[in-house]
């Protein structure tokens, strides 16, 4: 069976989509298809790859709009998944393209530097004697050490597409969660404050990162753990934390959300005042009634029980 790969090409200032045909073979991955095209048809097609066993992260590309490790995903499976013998291969999203399927990692590493990306060990530890850590504490962060920096998560991140400048890449949140949850750290706040400043509360919670991680690492969950940590460590003086606190208080007090107050509680009076035009428009269309009295939910005691149980379960 002949498969058509429509590959998005970029060379210097030129951009185009080029069609290639490869004969499907047993065990053929996207990477092998790319290798075969480069070897037999077109030596100018460029991409990066190194280990071909899903551990170095060099070969991630986008196939039919989803990030994949090229060395890992079988052409045959993709043909079945998309019910089509034509596949589109593009460079990862939310990266600048250097050439063809090769992308620029520099801005990602620059942003990673913001979180103070290495362990700052406690005073009692030393390079000569190492550190101590219980097995249970190790288990709190160990899976996050399995990130291979392939970039699949950020490729599909909606927040990064809107604006990546006031946000971190999902894999950087994974690294941050690893550092914050590591009991060897002398003060997790050193990393956490930096993460808050760099946009922790701006995640849209679309779960694309989790859905696309080839290692099953759940970056979105790492972001939630960082959210939790801001409360545990008392770093709550930020819009995001205030917003979460306001939601909690509303639910606790009335069992309902009072959206007319949410912005004031989250951002403070001055910042919220800047949203006045928006509020006016909402009022005009009947979406917001400042004089509405939010009635207390008759089942308020049950709601408070749920909150209490949830707290205890943590």
């Amino acid at each position: 069976m002949a498969i058509t790969l429509n590959i998005h090409r970029t060379v210097a200032d030129k951009k185009w989509v080029q069609e290639y045909k490869v004969e499907l073979k047993k065990g053929m991955t996207i990477l092998e298809a790319l290798n075969e095209i480069k070897a037999m048809q077109d030596p100018t097609l460029s991409f990066t790859a190194s280990c071909r066993s899903s551990i170095c992260g060099a070969c991630a590309v986008r196939v039919n709009g989803n990030a994949e490790l090229a060395c890992e995903v079988l052409v045959e499976d993709l043909v079945k998944r998309y019910k089509s013998e034509t596949l589109t291969v593009e460079p990862l999203g939310n990266f600048k393209v250097l050439r063809d399927l090769i992308v620029d990692w520099d801005p990602k590493f620059d942003r990673m530097k913001k979180i103070k990306p290495s362990l700052h060990p406690k005073k009692e530890f030393s390079p000569e004697k190492g550190c101590k850590q219980s097995i249970a504490d190790f288990k709190k962060y160990d899976e996050y050490a399995g990130c291979i920096l392939c970039g699949a998560c950020v490729s599909e991140c909606n927040k990064s597409t809107v604006d990546e400048k006031d946000f971190l890449d999902p894999f950087t949140f994974v690294k941050a969660a690893k550092l914050v949850l590591d009991s060897r750290s002398r003060d997790p706040k050193e990393h956490l404050q930096a993460v808050i400043d760099a946009g922790l509360w701006k995640c849209m919670k679309c779960q694309e990162c989790t859905a696309n991680c080839p290692k099953g690492l759940k970056p979105a969950e790492a972001i939630e753990k960082l959210h939790e940590a801001t409360f545990k460590l008392g770093l709550t003086s930020s819009v995001g934390a205030n917003h979460a606190k306001a939601l909690y208080d509303d639910i606790y007090n009335t069992g309902r959300l009072d959206e007319s107050k949410l912005s004031i509680q989250s951002e403070g009076l001055v910042a919220a005042a800047l949203r006045a035009p928006f509020a006016m428009r909402l009022m005009k269309t009947g979406k917001l009634d400042p004089f509405e009295k939010v009635p207390v939910n008759p089942e308020i005691n049950k709601i408070r029980d749920i909150l209490k149980n949830a707290k205890e379960a943590e």
Partner: protein, 611 residues
Amino acid sequence: MAEQISRRTFIKAGVAVGAAVAAGTYFEWQGNNIPAAVQKGTALYDVLIIGSGGAGMRAALEAAKDKNIKVAIMTKLIPTRSATTMAQGGMNGCTGVTDSKDTPESHAFDTVKGGDYLCDQDAVEYFAENAGKIIYEMDYYGYPYHRQEDGSFHQRKMGGSSHARAAYYADESGLATVHTLFEQCLEQNVEMISECQMLEIVVKDEKLSGVIAVDMRSGNIVSVPAKTVIVATGGYGRAYWIRTTNPYSSTGDGIAACLNIGVPFKDPEMVQFHPTGLAINGVLLSESSRSEGAYLLNKNGERFMKKYAPDKMELATRDIVARSIETEISEGRGIGEGLNAAVYLDFRHIPKEIIKERLGQVYDLSLRFEGVDITEKPVPIRCSCHYSMGGIDVIDYKTCATKVPGVFAAGECSCVSIHGANRLGANSLSEVLMFGKTAGIGAPAYAKKVGYVGDKEALNAALAKWNKTFEEVTARTSGPRVVELRDKMAASMWFKAGVYREENQLQEGLKEIDDLIKEYKICYVGDASRNYNTAFMNYIELGNLLLVSKAIIMGAIARKESRGGHSRKDFPKRDDKNFLKHTIISKVGDEFKTEYRDVVITKFKPAERTY
């Protein structure tokens, strides 16, 4: 005065731009993968490290401790794509935290015995004394070690080790090593010269001038003056191309560059073959397949290991199993043909739950690449080149210095030599860390003492030469294709200098490689763009692999005995009388020359290697 200078500068700059435009060789720099000073050619490094794997990054961190030392890492990819990520088992080092009976002497002995007595024992002792310290340091750097009850890292026992001494992170110990080091490099702002393929180390009259490289993004050739260079470019398993477990990047770049400046290649013939690579592409199926009880079958369904190792059967050492598999194939009891001929690895008698629980990765890889569900069918496997024991001749294990002053080497590209004729599991990660650190102390000390002795003219000449080469080779419109030559090389290496070797075949192989070296001079690259020209990169890598291949064969011809990874059919026994020696291959002009150097023996008298 000020006006004069600015006018002069103005004119000079104008001339430079004019020349560049005329030559058509300078392109706009994109991004900051390369520091501005390197782009301009004004950077001078105390320590320039080539390669960003475990050895390179560890060396950089050590050198960067002294804030007066200017250090950078150059890498042809980006820093986290190295072969180090692929290490699974762990890092050996005697600490006694898990097994209090372990001693550095025991580690040294296991290493020497495993290496079939071709190790330099003084270097091995130094290694074993210090390897434990490296594990503690990595703990402090943030390595995610698996823990034991007392809160210390846990150590496990690897094949060929007498004690539990490998600290680890899951079966991804190398991945954790690379990322722990990378985190430190980021935080300490270690300069990276990323996506830059090294082309040449420039040495004139034994004086180091610096390094010439091509910036992949712009295609510009850059010259980077340096007081010292640490070569940390990894192994050369890609000489066997598809029959290797190594990444595409393990192309012996640093070894070839060193050969060209007169640094010898030590013990090149010592290559380790792993018995269980997938037949189709050489990807490694973990050693745990055999330890969980998988059978090896030939095409008649016979458990052939009973002929070669009746007691241990499939659990015999890597080299014995590898040779048995190749014998079955060469005597016609394998399946398939050519480089993909194979025998079977059979898991069907192992309970499905155990396969799912302990051999998940083996299950996935077999299904993915061979389309075989190992709970239902046996999977075709064959040996695959796994590790390069030989490498750049390091003459001082306490500094990692080579024969050329200012040039240092560490990691798999180097031969210190602690692995001798065969490497033990979990000794490679400790080696890259420990000798990376050693080079990271040795090189800055030398830079401080000697300073820059290089010759900018020599650098400029080399730069011009490489610009010309680039234009010339990428402009060709015909000739044998790079991949064609590469595949021929792999076939020659596998069939003439593979698991089994013998005189006639090696001589034929040598001739074939020599012919390929001639064809290489007229080969077709197929891409003339300066923008991220990976076809040109592959061309450079092939040139390096051809030099390495030639040295492997020459070393194999000269060593008329069998030892560790080197098995001669015509000389099946170890010969300590004549070959307790290192092969030292040097390049003189276009010719290679073979010499010997005695192995250093301290405590451990050579004995027969039995397990």
